[in-house]
């Protein structure tokens, strides 16, 4: 780790000012909020910039607001704020719960939702969970604002569609309707998660699942939804889901793209996907029946 090389710090008070700075300095400037990834890249000497553009003084960028049935998390909202947000606890309880297990308490006090998503480390929880919440990201630039579905936003490890002149301003989540039972499981020995599974089953008045949402993260280059699983699960009762959990999990595992890395081989990750999708189904089924599964597995966080 080398020392930080000198840079200037700009603290614009509006998106327009940020845009102007980006236009003026281009690759010599970097957007900065919590800095939990950026400062490490600068210290490692992997990135050199002349200026940091601090987003934390742009009003409204850190707010968590409800907006016609969706919930919008401002890009500079800190994990700690997400963890304690009453709105999220009420509308997207899983999001508040998962935020509590991001990295460690110090990173949660400083790191932001936008920084996490824009860095797009394949081994992280938020993108996986947000994918199951049909998240849509808002990218602002002087040329205008565009909305990108999270599934299209992340192209691969550390690669997103965000252009250099664009600022990620927020992420819009579509909370699951009332009567949805959900679970997030994260497994791994390392500092960062090796596997993330988000499962949400919305149970209709007739007791049938309509729809189910399943996202799997960390095992491949980007988080992935499991459309086959979701089709198979739709229309079935939760009990039926639990009954066919093994087969459904197997199908989901076969469909995901897994890549080997320091966290494990591709086939191990595929089998862990099978194991934890099944466990997620069992937990969701138990929760649907009003039981507290208080399932505990080694090196696993169940939210």
């Amino acid at each position: 780790m080398t020392r930080l090389r000198p840079f200037a710090l700009d603290r614009p008070a509006s998106l327009e000012e940020v845009g102007a700075l980006l236009a003026e300095h281009g690759a010599d400037a970097a957007l900065y909020a919590g800095g939990t990834e950026l400062l490490l890249l600068l210290k490692a000497g992997l990135l050199r910039v002349q200026r940091l553009i601090d987003l934390k003084r742009v009003p409204g960028l850190a707010d968590i607001t409800a907006d016609d049935g969706t919930v919008v998390l401002g890009a500079t909202a800190r994990h700690r704020t997400v963890e304690r947000s009453a709105l999220l606890r009420e509308r997207c309880p899983l999001v508040a719960g998962v935020a509590r297990h991001v990295a460690n308490v110090r990173v949660r006090h400083v790191g932001t939702v936008g920084g996490n998503l824009a860095f797009a480390d394949p081994h992280s929880d938020l993108a996986t969970l947000f994918l199951a919440l049909d998240a849509e990201l808002t990218l602002w630039s002087r040329a205008g604002e565009r909305r990108v579905a999270l599934a299209d936003f992340v192209r691969g490890p550390y690669e997103t569609v965000r252009r250099d002149d664009e600022i990620l301003t927020g992420v819009r989540l579509r909370p699951w309707p009332a009567g949805t039972v959900s679970a997030y499981l994260k497994f791994g020995v390392h500092e960062r998660p090796s596997l993330g599974v988000a499962l949400a089953a919305t149970i209709g008045p007739d007791g049938a699942v309509a729809p189910a949402r399943l996202a799997v993260g960390c095992v491949g280059p980007r988080p992935q939804r499991c459309p086959e699983f979701e089709r198979e699960a739709a229309g079935r009762s939760v009990a039926e889901l639990a009954g066919r959990a093994a087969a459904l999990a197997e199908a989901a595992a076969d469909a995901v793209e897994t890549t080997g890395d320091l966290h494990g081989s591709a086939d191990y990750k595929r089998d862990m996907t099978r194991v934890f999708v099944r466990r997620a189904i069992e937990i969701v089924a138990a929760r649907a029946a009003g039981e507290d599964p208080h399932a505990r597995y080694p090196y696993t966080v169940v939210v």
Partner: protein, 771 residues
């Protein structure tokens, strides 16, 4: 009475007042208030900062060095390659002087220092370092034992290695034309021939991974020469006196001109033994005429030292009744690019391969093998963990084949108290069966585990260093306070507190009135090293003798003054007391010196010297510990959870029970590191995971639900008040105990550490797939 394990203390001469109590650490206050100072905190006026430019290649020739741009950076004082290191021997190393201060002509591992940049601040140094342009021509590298030992393998070292400074390694036996830089052989009885009479013979090969000490304080050193040509180095080192020898040889000056000062260490675990950064800062301080500071990053510590990984083929022969008849071991240790103390590790680790058991016929062989990776060095256990992982696993397999209970099989083979381990070496100095029984009892071995739980047990034996020397001085001041001058380094294990307790006990004064000086070769007398669990025993006894020397002087002077024979006087609460007489120490000194000043100086020397023992000197004590683990396995993910772990160590006497407990709890967690989590991963010579994101050091959540560290205290040790060494032993049994528990529970025998979830998962899948 403070909480802490109550040793079933054997009463020495009268009840002990301070020894055996969990007194408050003498360095606790400065550590909890943030006032404690480590080398990395040191600032000297005019001090320059060093950044090292390191090789990205595992093996390459240095073609060209362009430092022109770097020297232009404002604040840079010097940009130094090996060619610029004039006026000193550029090689160092305890066994072989094979390690260059900066790479000479060739780099032998990824991360090896090539150029040093010295500047006013770390920012300028780092900026200049990035501008140093080194042209390399890659050479074929060997990065595993298999590659390094293959016939015709590229050689890590081509020239004949120069002998190092330490006499006992003068019998170094490199194998010319190979990557083997030392070999060790040991035979007893009829050796391998005895296998012919064995009822059961079991053989298997186990491997132990490359792991990192990961002291929380990476290596750091500050050096300064004065006008009189004397070098002072403030170093984060465990053996100032070895470093002093290496620097005196390097700069060709008398030992007295080199001064090594060791404030507190932020952990060591063996990784800070022998010279590491001291040569480079010494050389740069001389070149620049300014004090020079080098503090490594955590990533750089991964490229400085590591534990030697090993491949051990073990073969055990048993009689029908389960008695060990013969043992054969071939161990290859990967010592990395430079030998460091590797040659002594392969000797020490292999010598007690047969553990605490009686094995009449033995043939042991080990090799120290060079590879193009971070140099291996001493690490808690010093070769014994690598051997015990193999032997204790094969022993457990034998118990299964002989249908013996694993505890029973061990019990019936244990060496007895007083029995000979090897001709010429110290007899066994502990009742090992007590430790085994207590461990088995604590884990409720005989009640059998629940269906979903597996239990495993393992033992270990380790010799400490012999010949060895520890000297100490105790000074009793006129106000009845005392200063202890001893060179035991405080690296968290509590040595400073132990020395204070020993001196306070002998001098009958409160611990708070005893001050233990910072190790400083210009002040504190010679001590060979702070490693091998030897400080309490050897340095402790030297302190005890020095304090006793002061005691005898007190009694002698008081006897004269009181007219009572010294034999009928004793020390109590800072005074010499007889049947009815009492003379406080200040008065005794007043009597002795005729004035209010002066001090009584006592000296202690402990030097058991050479013996006919196979390693050149008898071990001053045997370190023996037992580990018993109870685990649960999530068979779907392969994840092992250690639900309960019991460690029992035969320590003779806990000078400070709470510190012994904390040491052994730390040893168990560090053992769980290489058992379940840690491994340095190389890909074609490049180290991929030199940081905490990708190298998993145990955390609080890895703490077994139940962790009990207990001690057998029969006051039968050679140390003060019957103490023996502790702190390394409890780490060794962790891996085999967990491996044996896994085998008992799942029938899967893994021979490679760490037992990661994926490795266990793969083995379980293979077992389900059947033969």
């Amino acid at each position: 009475m403070r909480r802490g394990a109550r040793g079933d203390g054997v009463s020495g001469p009268g009840p002990l007042r301070v020894v055996g109590q969990s007194v408050r650490r003498v360095d606790a206050l400065e550590k909890v208030t943030g006032r404690a100072r480590y080398v990395t905190d040191l600032e000297l006026p005019g001090m320059l900062h060093v950044t090292l430019v390191r090789s990205p290649y595992a093996h390459a020739r240095l073609v060209r060095l362009d430092t022109q741009a770097a020297t232009g950076v404002p604040g840079v004082r010097a940009v130094v390659g090996s060619g610029d290191l004039t006026g000193c021997d550029p090689y160092f190393g305890p066994a072989f002087r094979d390690r260059p201060i900066l790479a000479i002509d060739v780099v032998r591992y990824e991360g090896e220092p090539v150029v040093a940049v010295v500047a006013d601040d770390e920012g300028a140094a780092a900026e200049a370092a990035a501008l140093v342009d080194v042209a390399y021509e890659e050479l074929p590298a060997v990065t595993t034992l298999e590659e390094a030992l293959a016939p015709g393998a590229p050689l890590v070292h081509t020239a004949e290695p120069l002998a190092g400074h330490f006499a006992d390694l003068s019998t170094l036996r490199a194998k010319p034309g190979t990557n083997i830089c030392h070999q060790f052989d040991f035979e007893r009885g009829r050796g391998a021939a005895a296998f012919a009479d064995a009822h059961l013979i079991l053989e298997d090969t186990y491997t132990f991974p490359r792991v990192q000490h990961y002291s929380m304080e990476p290596h750091a050193a500050v050096a300064a020469w004065n006008e009189a040509g004397e070098l002072t180095v403030w170093a984060s080192t465990q053996n100032p006196y070895s470093v002093r020898v290496e620097l005196a040889k390097m700069f060709d000056v008398p030992l007295g001109r080199i001064r090594i000062v060791v404030p507190l260490l932020g952990g060591g675990f063996g990784g800070k033994t022998y010279a590491k950064l001291e040569p480079i800062v010494g050389a740069l301080a001389r070149m620049t005429g300014r004090p020079v500071r080098l503090a490594l990053s955590a990533e750089e510590a991964f490229r400085t030292v590591r534990r030697c990984d090993a491949r051990v083929r073990a073969r055990l022969g048993f009689t029908r009744e389960g008695l060990l008849l013969a043992a054969e071991c071939d161990a290859d240790f990967d010592v990395g690019a430079y030998a460091d103390i590797g040659p002594r590790i392969i000797q020490k680790g292999t010598y007690t391969a047969t553990g605490p058991y009686r094995v009449p016929h033995v043939r042991l062989h080990s090799n120290a093998v060079y590879t193009n990776t971070t140099p291996g060095g001493a690490f808690r256990g010093f070769g014994v963990p690598q051997l015990a992982w193999a032997i204790e696993s094969v022993l457990d397999e034998a118990a299964r084949r002989l249908d013996h209970d694993p505890v029973e099989l061990r019990r019936q083979n244990l060496l007895a108290h007083g029995e000979e381990f090897a001709p010429g070496d110290a007899p066994i100095d502990g009742k090992f069966e007590e430790s085994l029984n207590r461990a088995a009892h604590a884990i409720r071995w005989t009640q059998g585990a629940a269906a979903d739980r597996g239990r495993g047990v393992a033992m270990m034996l380790k010799a400490s260093i012999g010949p060895t020397v520890s000297e100490a001085i105790v000074r009793l001041h006129a106000d009845a306070s005392a200063t202890v001058l001893a060179s035991a380094v405080e690296m968290g294990q509590g040595a400073r507190t132990v020395m204070a307790q020993i001196a306070a006990e002998v001098l009958a004064i409160p611990v708070g009135r005893v001050f233990v000086a910072t190790p400083d070769t210009a002040v504190t007398p010679y001590d060979q090293t702070t490693s091998s669990s030897r400080s309490t025993t050897m340095t402790g006894r030297a302190v005890q003798e020095a304090a006793a020397d002061v005691r005898d002087q007190l009694l002698h002077v008081a006897s004269g003054r009181l007219g009572v024979p010294a034999a009928r006087l004793r020390l109590e609460d800072g005074a010499v007391v007889g049947a009815s007489e009492r003379l406080a120490y200040p008065d005794v000194l007043e009597e002795r010196f005729g004035m209010g000043g002066g001090e009584l100086i006592g000296r202690g020397v402990v030097a058991p010297g050479r013996s006919a023992a196979p390693l050149g000197g008898s071990t001053p004590f045997w370190e023996m510990a037992v580990g018993a683990a109870e685990i649960v396995v999530d068979e779907e993910t392969g994840a092992i959870t250690v639900e309960k772990y019991v460690s029992v160590a035969d320590v003779g006497r806990c000078i400070n029970p709470l510190q012994c407990e904390a040491q052994d709890e730390g040893a168990v967690l560090q053992g769980l590191g290489h058992t379940l989590l840690e491994e340095m991963l190389y890909e074609r010579g490049q180290l991929l995971n030199a940081n905490l994101v990708d190298y998993r050091v145990p955390r609080a959540e890895d703490l077994p639900r139940v962790l009990e560290c207990r001690f057998v205290e029969n006051a039968d040790g050679a140390g003060p008040f019957g103490a023996k060494g502790a702190g390394e032993g409890s780490l060794v049994p962790v891996a085999p105990a967990v491996g044996n528990a896994l085998s008992r529970l799942t029938g899967v025998r893994l021979r490679e550490l760490p037992l990661t979830p994926e490795r266990v998962w793969r083995a379980l899948r293979a077992r389900r797939a059947g033969p």
